[in-house]
Amino acid sequence: MGSLVKIILIGIIIFFIIFPIFILFKYSISDKDSVVTGGKYPEPFWPFNPNFKMFESLSVRGDFLYSGMVSLEVGLLTVIFCLFLGVPTAYALARFKIPGVGVLLFFLLSIRLFPDISAVIPVAEQFFKPPFSYLPPLVLVALAHTLLSLPYTIYIAEGVFESIPKDLEEQSQVLGASRAYSFLRILTPLALPGLGAAAIYTFLLSWNEFVFAYFLLFQGTESTLPVYLLRILTWSPQKNFIAAISLLICIPVIIFTFAVQRYMRTGLTAGAVK
């Protein structure tokens, strides 16, 4: 392929990737005059009098901040559940000769292929019934998010444990440590960076997740940030207000995604090519 054609193609694609994000950013810092034009002149691609008024007003908006807190709590709860359930399992899968581990991992990941929208109604029906309905809605959402991200957590953590040599544990056990002790004091510190990536991945999944949060919080007043954004949309507010909220939801995702990119790639393409 000619290198000029290649450069032009890359340029066009990068434009199509960056343009929507730029527009979002543009709207969020736009002055009211450049959003509500009344059709007199086209909406400019560059805002007149850019300012941070939208972000300032959002920073003192109670319901927005509260939704942010809810999102944060749900995310952290999900991370805790996932790590507690998933890390020991991943350790067992990586360390002990369990027949058919590959198949097991494949089935674990393929759980995510089940349509969320089909799974959400049974889960909601069950969660609205007594033993579960006594729990606060936040915990219910976190439990549902744990269902979604547990396979990934196990998968990523399994890879992390597999990369740590088995000898270290064996040595500690020769010196008289129990399995649990060598797991906690020898292996966990070594695995922490990789497990951190798994935790971030889990958190992002929960932060982005919309379907389960929407169905489980539909009747209540609390909402995670994506659900809050949807509730805002029904009032058809000004474009710069929507854009500012959307951008604030994106920012942590963009930052952390690139932090854990290396781990995400293996997760995304897992089982792609044999």
Partner: protein, 294 residues
């Protein structure tokens, strides 16, 4: 003495196995419990009073949604594959700045689907939005194509296409990564030999890359077709007036308060996904044997 040692070791073995079971079982139990819940309710409601699983077909809305979803899947899947192949080919060979370009190509995956849908709504808003302004010729650098602003969300064709555009934009890095992983398994010697013999870029692509890439391509096709069948967020935000199956399920549950019909829809969605996976697997296998001639 010997007996004692043996006894000790079996006890140790049991303890070991108990430890393994103890740390493995909870997470699998958790996932399994949800599987049971999901299947239980899907079947209980679908085969409940009046057999909603059959009566759902008499709803006109369901047939329309099924039709739309089918087209969404049938057009969107190859589209994502082609975009993924193009992106992967562009960043496959290393050049100066390839790392940066690859990272930029991965940006869409970092934007939540809901936000992407919201951006689409902002861009294509009616009557005053960037795309309408552009096509109405309000900017000096673009020719006038429309005579009146177009209400994208009011037209079935445009609103579903927009949802598809959002889906393709958001998920193109995934297709790209899978294809890229497939490309990297192809050995360079074949290309070099072909190049020496004077094969053009297109010939190399058609006779070397494409046949060797079929495993990756079939993975993309199968995974993406599943994703397209079950797509919810984009049509929900961008094309609410023309529901796909996912949106219909939400509507039946929340607006019409009919969990029975909603579950019947949901079960059908699972069945269609299973059938299409089966079909795609079969098709790609046939294509592969045709191309590679093994």
């Amino acid at each position: 003495m010997l007996k004692k040692i043996k006894k000790y070791s079996t006890w140790e073995k049991l303890k070991d196995n108990l430890f393994i079971i103890g740390i493995t079982v909870p997470s699998f139990l958790y996932l399994f419990a949800f599987l049971v819940i999901v299947l239980f309710y899907l079947f209980k409601f679908s085969f409940g009073e009046g057999l909603p699983i059959l009566s759902v077909f008499s709803e006109g809305e369901f047939r329309k949604a099924l039709f739309r979803t089918f087209w969404f899947m049938l057009v969107g899947t190859p589209l994502q594959l082609v975009v993924g192949i193009i992106l992967a080919l562009l960043v496959y060979e290393s050049f100066k700045g390839v790392g940066l370009v690859r990272s930029l190509f991965l940006v869409p995956i970092a934007i939540p689907a809901l936000v992407t849908a919201v951006i689409l709504n902002l861009l294509f808003s009616y009557p005053f939005g960037h795309i309408n302004d552009l096509f109405l010729g309000k900017h000096f650098f673009f020719p006038k194509i429309f005579t009146a602003p177009l209400n994208f969300s009011g037209s079935e064709f445009f609103s579903i296409s927009l949802a598809m555009l959002g889906k393709v934009w958001r998920d193109m890095p995934i297709a790209m990564l899978i294809i890229l992983a497939g490309l990297q398994t192809i050995e360079k010697e074949g290309y070099e030999a072909a190049q020496i013999m004077g094969a053009s870029f297109w010939q190399r692509f058609k006779y070397i890359t494409l046949p060797l890439l079929t495993p990756a391509i079939s993975t993309v096709l199968i995974l993406r077709s599943i994703e397209n069948w079950k797509e919810f967020i984009f049509p929900f935000i961008v094309a609410p007036a023309y529901p796909l199956l996912g949106v219909l399920i939400e509507r039946l549950y929340h607006v019409e308060q009919n969990p029975q019909l909603a579950c019947a829809c949901a079960l059908w969605l699972v069945i269609f996904i299973g059938a299409s996976v089966f079909l795609f697997t079969f098709l790609t296998k046939a294509v592969r044997t045709y191309l590679v001639k093994v």
